[in-house]
Symmetry: C2
Subunit: 96 residues, 2 copies
């Protein structure tokens, strides 16, 4: 688990405090000029992904909009017997 | 917390096992003929809402589609100082 993007403009939610992921997303949107950022989480970290989006919107980027939310399952083993729920939230700054 | 709908066709996720909420949604969609069902959760129960949708899709309703996902904050007190993240997932059976 890491807060480093796994692909450009993605924040993968792990075990660290929510504010770490808020800061990672903020950096991508503000400093690195990302048009969109994908906040991604699996299993129990899903609620932290939603917290991250809400904290980002309420504390830092007032014009943040949720552009897309994907819900799906990922396989935990190669046979696909064990699955975990996953959530991807795509956010962007609203253009005026 | 209750699995009884708070308004028609809503399943509010609480502390019970995920399968209880899957069954409540299934009953609304299959037995009561609901066109759409809203799965709603707050705070730590958010991951259970996503699990509910995935379990419903993978085990019971293969043509289930996620029609809408809302992310927002709810006030925990009247002054609005304490907030909790909330998630609403609207699902329906895909029409052929």
């Amino acid at each position: 688990m890491s807060i480093e993007p796994q692909k450009p403009n993605t924040v993968l939610i792990g075990k660290k405090p929510t504010i770490n992921y808020v800061m990672a997303a903020l950096k991508l949107l503000n400093d690195e000029g990302a048009e969109e950022v994908v906040i991604k989480a699996r299993g129990r970290n899903i609620c932290k992904a939603v917290d991250t989006v809400e904290m980002l919107k309420n504390l830092f980027i007032k014009n943040l909009v949720v552009k897309d939310v994907k819900i799906y399952s990922e396989d935990l083993d190669e046979e696909g017997k064990r699955k975990v729920s996953a959530l991807e939230i795509t956010v962007a700054k609203e253009r005026k």
